[in-house]
């Protein structure tokens, strides 16, 4: 039996968003094997983003345990969690979060861990693979939304992290660009990576090896479509 890349047990994290409203996740358990493409769906406020931030060690659970790539995250201090993120996690956000004062290539290079060699070969490879070669030196402000998300994707993948966490990466994209981004994530999975993606819509379901539905911070069961066999290329 394959050892899991990610194993979460009874994760709970609540936080007040507005007076009287508490959002978060409660008692979530999850197992993700290497090479999986996990799609988590749920309505707004269901706890999807909170789950993703917990898995990326940007939030600490109030209770429960989380083990990723052989590391017990709850045992790490702040510096340890920073190091873990730098090495093992690639984030893709709905709002792209590109640095406006850096070029496309320099934005991609920020995805490398601090102190890592910055020869740029790997970054150039991803820029080419994502169809951004002619925009290499452009400023983010001059890019289309689709191009911006591809830059953000290249930034997440440039260090070849074992785990990619995508928070509604297609939420701001038209269907064509959304399809391209999902296709690149699927290619990364087929190349050996693992993807956990949270979304509102069904567009990522066709790539999912595991589909989960989150409602009010709790699993509401798998979605209705059958999962894809992750062993198939």
């Amino acid at each position: 039996m394959t050892s899991p890349l990610l194993e979460a047990s009874d994760l709970t994290r609540n936080h007040a968003t507005r007076p009287g409203v508490v959002a978060g996740v409660a008692g979530l358990s999850l197992r993700v094997d290497p090479g999986e493409f996990v799609v988590v769906r749920g309505p707004s406020g269901s706890g999807k983003s909170t789950l993703l931030l917990l898995l990326g060690a940007l939030l600490r659970p109030q209770s429960g345990t989380l083990r990723i790539d052989g590391v017990d995250l709850h045992r790490l201090d702040a510096a340890g969690r920073s190091g873990f993120r730098a090495r093992s996690v690639g984030f893709v956000f709905q709002m792209f979060h590109l640095l406006p004062y850096l070029s496309v290539r320099e934005n991609v290079l920020t995805g490398l861990p601090p102190g890592a060699p910055r020869s740029g070969t790997e970054a150039d490879g991803w820029i080419e693979a994502l169809g951004l070669s002619d925009r290499r030196d452009a400023a983010p402000a001059t890019l289309s939304t689709g191009e911006r998300q591809r830059v953000a994707l290249a930034r997440a993948l440039v260090k070849r992290p074992p785990l990619v966490l995508a928070d509604e990466p297609t939420g701001n994209l038209d269907p064509d660009n959304a399809g391209r981004v999902l296709e690149h994530l699927e290619r990364y999975r087929r190349a050996g990576g693992t993807v956990v993606l949270v979304t509102h819509g069904p567009e990522a379901d066709r790539y999912a090896t595991q589909r989960l539905r989150l409602e009010a911070g709790r699993w509401a069961g798998p979605s209705t479509l059958p999962a894809v066999d992750p062993s198939k290329p």
Binding site: G83, A86, F93, M95, L99, Y101, L109
Partner: protein
Amino acid sequence: MTPILRHILCEGWHSRLHASLGLLGLTGAVALLTAVSLLTAAAERETRRVVRDLGFNLRILAKETDPERFFLDGYPENTLPADAVTRLAAGAGTFITFNHLTPVLERRTRIAGHDCLLTGLGDTVVGPGEKKQPMGFRILPGTAHVGSVLAERLGVKAGALLEAGGRSLRVERVLVEAGTEDDVRLYTALPDAQAILGLPGRISEIKAIDCLCLTAEQDPLPKIREALSRVLPEARVLQMRTLADARAKQRQSSERVRAFAVPTTLLVAALWILVLMGINVRQRRAEIGLWRALGLGSARIAVLFLGKAVLLGGLGGLLGWTLGTVVALRWGPGLFPVTAGSLAADLSLLLPAVGLTPLFAAVATFLPAMMAVAQDPAETLRSDS
């Protein structure tokens, strides 16, 4: 170039308006401090010069001097031994209280049938290590400076020879009309006056300036008298209150300007930087969250903000020193015409300007930087910024 330095420079260029405002604040603060420093130093020089021109404000006389006779005659009848000035100069703490000790012998006398005031001036004694100019003018033995009315009565001009008390004196200069008793005064070196008057080894008083830097409310006279009684018990001191007050007010005015300008400038500059960096942190919340997601630790994120402040501080220090110096040199001579020639760029201020301004900017940015480090990345990354 390290990636962090490149990010700081690129971000600074990208947010040019913000960086320019920060640079403006720091440059303005350093320029103001540089100008204030140069101009207050010029004000002190001017004060010293003006006060010196006002003359001595302390008169140290023989203790038994009759005040009534003294004020009616304008000089003391009794005398002190000439070594009183060296004993006073050697006294512990003398130069904390007194300075510019000048022995003087003064008497009314007749020269070539004309009444005049004969004043012998000895060498001025200043504090150890000081290079202060002697008060008034230095008179070489065998020469004389003659008041304008007396010179006219005697019919002498510069270069003429004058007979006084059996001694021959060369007229060094005829003084311009003063409108005071100085117009009938004959100045000689102290030994010449002692010989003419038949008072060898005697002086009638020691003139001095008080150098107690007290506040406007404090009266220096008790301290001056106490200091004198310890060193020269056979003497008494009179303070020329009007001159002393004028001197004290000049000095206190200069000190007030500095005491107000320096902390106010620093406070305004610190608040300016604090507000600007606070705005910068607010604007870069999502970026901070992203750096967190990319695995940057708190120290590296703080360096992004503090590094920007340090760079702006270094540049602001250099520009501010230059601007402040230009302002002081441009307008200073008009403000301080007497000592205008002494105004010059002060290179000793450049190192503190370039070295301490980055430190000051970093301290002012520390709070916003800590706010940046403490931000919850989950919140900032979920926002639409």
